[in-house]
Symmetry: D2
Subunit: 422 residues, 4 copies
Amino acid sequence: MITITKESHTQLIADFQRVRAQSQNICAPLQKEDYVAQPVVFVSPPKWHLGHTTWFFETFLLQEFMEGYELFHPRYAYVFNSYYEGAGERVQRSDRGNLTRPTVDKVYAYREYVDRHVERLLSTVEITDEIAYIVQIGLHHEQQHQELLFYDIQYILGHNPLFPTYKEGAQIESHAGTPSLEWLEMEEGIYEVGHDGKGFHFDNEGGKHRVFLEPYRITDRLITNAEYLAFVEAGGYKDYQYWLEEGWRWVNENQVDSPMYWFKVNGQWQQFSMQGMHPLDLNAPVTHISYYEAQAFAKWKGLRLPTEFEWEAACLHYAPEIPELANFVDAEQFRPVARQGKDYQFYGDCWEWTQSAYLPYPRYEAPEGTLGEYNGKFMVNQMVLKGGSCATPRDHIRPTYRNFFQAEMRWHYTGLRLAETL
Amino acid sequence: MITITKESHTQLIADFQRVRAQSQNICAPLQKEDYVAQPVVFVSPPKWHLGHTTWFFETFLLQEFMEGYELFHPRYAYVFNSYYEGAGERVQRSDRGNLTRPTVDKVYAYREYVDRHVERLLSTVEITDEIAYIVQIGLHHEQQHQELLFYDIQYILGHNPLFPTYKEGAQIESHAGTPSLEWLEMEEGIYEVGHDGKGFHFDNEGGKHRVFLEPYRITDRLITNAEYLAFVEAGGYKDYQYWLEEGWRWVNENQVDSPMYWFKVNGQWQQFSMQGMHPLDLNAPVTHISYYEAQAFAKWKGLRLPTEFEWEAACLHYAPEIPELANFVDAEQFRPVARQGKDYQFYGDCWEWTQSAYLPYPRYEAPEGTLGEYNGKFMVNQMVLKGGSCATPRDHIRPTYRNFFQAEMRWHYTGLRLAETL
Amino acid sequence: MITITKESHTQLIADFQRVRAQSQNICAPLQKEDYVAQPVVFVSPPKWHLGHTTWFFETFLLQEFMEGYELFHPRYAYVFNSYYEGAGERVQRSDRGNLTRPTVDKVYAYREYVDRHVERLLSTVEITDEIAYIVQIGLHHEQQHQELLFYDIQYILGHNPLFPTYKEGAQIESHAGTPSLEWLEMEEGIYEVGHDGKGFHFDNEGGKHRVFLEPYRITDRLITNAEYLAFVEAGGYKDYQYWLEEGWRWVNENQVDSPMYWFKVNGQWQQFSMQGMHPLDLNAPVTHISYYEAQAFAKWKGLRLPTEFEWEAACLHYAPEIPELANFVDAEQFRPVARQGKDYQFYGDCWEWTQSAYLPYPRYEAPEGTLGEYNGKFMVNQMVLKGGSCATPRDHIRPTYRNFFQAEMRWHYTGLRLAETL
Amino acid sequence: MITITKESHTQLIADFQRVRAQSQNICAPLQKEDYVAQPVVFVSPPKWHLGHTTWFFETFLLQEFMEGYELFHPRYAYVFNSYYEGAGERVQRSDRGNLTRPTVDKVYAYREYVDRHVERLLSTVEITDEIAYIVQIGLHHEQQHQELLFYDIQYILGHNPLFPTYKEGAQIESHAGTPSLEWLEMEEGIYEVGHDGKGFHFDNEGGKHRVFLEPYRITDRLITNAEYLAFVEAGGYKDYQYWLEEGWRWVNENQVDSPMYWFKVNGQWQQFSMQGMHPLDLNAPVTHISYYEAQAFAKWKGLRLPTEFEWEAACLHYAPEIPELANFVDAEQFRPVARQGKDYQFYGDCWEWTQSAYLPYPRYEAPEGTLGEYNGKFMVNQMVLKGGSCATPRDHIRPTYRNFFQAEMRWHYTGLRLAETL
């Protein structure tokens, strides 16, 4: 178990209330019907996320530490367990969208019931390290599902022939213009990567270790829609030589010809975002691309993606602090926006595909027990992404944070920057 | 076009209002979430049925005959067309459950809008044969979807781990007992089958023609759960020799060991019906069986299913009139119940699988135009079912009525009676 | 069991030798490699057919009736059983093409071994009715596999990019011309159909029974390639209104635009047959079409396919005897050819799709035991074909003969004639 | 292009003849039928390998450099191209087993024809660097297919219910015993990995670069069947906690309970190898395991697999030279055998799964043109294996050699050794 500083009762309860409330804020603009659908197996219905994050606290906190706790409903564990083999049988992932019950109202009642008990627990028992850790991991877990809520809501709305808007939001317009792409140079040498173990972090960020990096350089911002559009219009999706073999198969089997949510309507490129359908924002970072697309774009440019280590070293060197104007969920843009000032965009906007496979670090150790299934069991056939997105809470991210997805995934806010060895 | 008697304005409007209201009555016990899901491709979300039946009137009646009619929404035709190639592009059938919009409220508003316009049309224009025909076919079409609503609602609730009840309904208890099974004998000879063309009927019931039947007999009631249970408990699902080759594959691939909605809980057989989970009603007719199961049961008995012609001839001979106590939807039992009195159960309770494939009768002609797609294009690889069910409106059925489904289907109220050639 | 006339030892042995030799004659033009492949699950490798027909005699004749018979190889029953559940475990059908062993030489050795034993058995024991029946059914079974050998060999060669020729054969040229299409009229009335039980027949032809036929007419020959080409060139494959819904899906999912083995090369229609690739023979009957295509062509013509009963009644009325020049396998054309003289083409050339589903006749009874699996268990979701083909042995066919295949199948020699009710 | 030392005409021709002959030696024990089958999509028929390696020389050497060269057959490029998009259309990979033609004899004639022309070319033209490179890469390419031939032949024979033997070979018996497992320690530091560019190597081995390794240790030999059997018998395949999530799904979907080719017959573990079915050789290295299984075994042991860099550094440190008794194909054992003496087994026996994903090295560059598709386009979702196997030619391997396969593959000779960070 990771040792953490014990927080005061008050702070822990405040954090708990703030994060729990945020999940419900995210869902506030939805109609009840929007909570139910699962248009594709990797999307979960919003009400499932609300229930699952609640089940997490019920299972790992209340059932373990609250004497005499009574389950809200005996079958909810079956309904809301995701993939924890150690926590018993569960609804098949592909069937989540078939569950019209419990209703949305019931799920909110479930949240209220569990929240009340957690608050009572945290107000009355001694907060051990273990309890604090479980609350904290539960909250970070919930923040991850808050990100997923954005991806999934956008998918549900963006695959509806009526293309409903999530939230009208700010005026959609291109920002003044994007500065030209510059290189950030990095010297060869031994760098330390990974989390040092102080403060909250996920198991997959540890242990801190050394890597040697050949000299390299990395672009000072994300690739924009305008730059990516040039690839599209140069026939990039029709020329096998830019693509990995798997990627080429993926392009052809799925008839992919542009990022997800791009639509050519009467000769004009439109994009669907949480603000509805609107013209492609040329200066904003390209997003909703798969690893295959990121890699193909880089190859077309004669360059490559950075490794996760190169990214982390450059981030720590050039942007050790998160800038004020980083586009996280707190900014309520709900989509990547054009670079602002000289920001290097290492944080927020969109998760950056790296050329690193998601594998354990030296001395990596999964926690004991069911929570050990959290990260470690996915360490094959996924790629690492860094930096957070417009759907990430600002207090959730770190330079050492390792996100990971399969190469073909692109319903989340993904993007890229380029690199090369010198 | 089928010629029908012109009805008075008043009667037609009254029928229209009555049938349209019934669809909404059926959905009244639902939660909003229940309207959205499509747990399997052959089930449609309840709100889709409500919208589709409305689209039918908008497309074939209002757009054709009401001058200056404005569509409720320009994209609803795309959302609510089912399979009419002649009526343009449409949402893939498998994607109906992904449509969280239009919301339930919007669908009801759509119904209200279309109903108001239909009523105005019927009140103001001259009711030609063509208009009357389209209204009538629209209403019979809606009645068919009312049946489907029951099947689909039961599927949605019955595949939810919480097993919600649709309606508490009458006390579930076995009726006093089932009289022993008797034979109804029929002489060899030429019989007339099919619809004579007077009054409303579907195209597939015409034209009336002659068939020769070898002498045969047919059971005087449906097979009960008790009788079917004997087959289950004799190992019927484990012995290939009772099964068609396709059926045996189906049993094994799907690990079928009993009718749909039968559950063995702590050694007791339970069944899920619209009244929720309750003990198997032994005297009620067996239902939710595929053609494969009906055929296997008959073979186990050393008998066979009747053909559609044998069924129709026997029905017309022994039960030319629909008995008062037939278990149609009007009786609000919402499931097959034990035989009452000496009723032969030719009507209601459950659709009876016949040993006839669904094929055109001599001189069959599909109507011109898009409505010609209604029945004719399904005439291959389906089996005929006769007699209506507990979900059928009493005024919807006729002895000549031909229902049809694929052999593996069993989410609807199906059952069987036995026959043999003498 | 069907009672048959006891044949003399000599005649039975002569039949046995003749039929068994014919299987090997069919394979004589093959290369060893051609015996192995299974390019699609419904095709079996030629050596599998040679082994399976041998296993049939070994299992049902030698093991039952020859005292002290020793199996040629203990695992061959596993390799060569097709679908007889009663005869034990077997290689999955889709895996037949993976079996490089036993080699072709071994399979021929197996045949030689079993033949020698059968001949010894038939020379030494008393030929009971049961033995004679099993020999006869074994020989008819082998003749059916001889047909399949042609279909499968043509499939293997015709799906090879080198398009090898089976046998150069006769000059391929269009015959002098096809007489115009005439109608054969039939009066309404009661007709007898099915086999009367005298002489060899398959179980599915029995029992003889009466049907009433409305007055109808039927074309006096098969539809030609020229006539079918007109449908192709009129856009028949692009217009949904001619197609059954299943057929339309089949056309689109498989991108079908013409019969199997038609190829448009440099603007000219070619066909691949056992004589290799050659220009489409316009006067020959169209072949290699599915039921869907036969039905769509008929609908395009404003007509329909005959039922199996209409076909049988007309055949018995107009062509009770098999004409001398019927194009059976004995004629060694190995493909349908243009109508010769006034032949009605009820026999040979190609199997005619009927509008009848394959279902049991009244009083149908499957034989006891494993041979009861021969026909009866396939009686669902298949269509009846009548008349035999250019791959059928002349002494194998009867007007009552019922062939059956799934509607989408077309690798065999299929064709059609038209009918209408008067 | 990689610069290589120009070889003398004589040496190049000798190498060419030697390697080409070896492909045919490997196939010598086969029956003709064995050359045809493709029991699973990743296996290719032996005759396809023989043709494809020949097509490689015809396409990249003869067509480019021999004036007036005439193709052996105009369609063979279509038949024998594997995956080179730059070299045109080709038979779908899954259809290779359907190709009964060209026959085995024709394929050998094709080889003879191309060999004769290559020899003539090499005897008559000036051997430029480019020609020498293409010959060399063609020969290394052919050696890779020689390995595949072993995997594929074993698959074909080992999935046949008759379990034929490839070659009787040496007596199968357990060697005297396996020394206990020891650790080889390695200090932390910067290590050079990758090929220095001198002499032949594949593009994916370059460029040489530096990595930092934390201190670690690695076992001094491969894991044996006895050790792996302990995992099997401890229920390792039934406990999710040892498995990656993907691996656990793979185990369950495929009902895996032991390595490929292990069979429990009457309570005794047997293994199928090229010598046929025989008792499990307990002291031989475990082989035919997937990455998932290797990883699960390591986790069960509380250890992990080495990275490709750790493996390479340890190999170069402890075994810079290939030992005489390494079990390569030259030893004609055709399966991994028990460790001999103090050999560390870095070379031969079986390819060792590493914990490294197959990704490009810094400064990696794919060659220009069609040969650039050789390695680079597979750099996603595969794992690196090191060290060669009992099917690898001794002169084909190097410590820098990077083999790569998907995590679920195990029909090749795979195995593992363990590591841990200190």
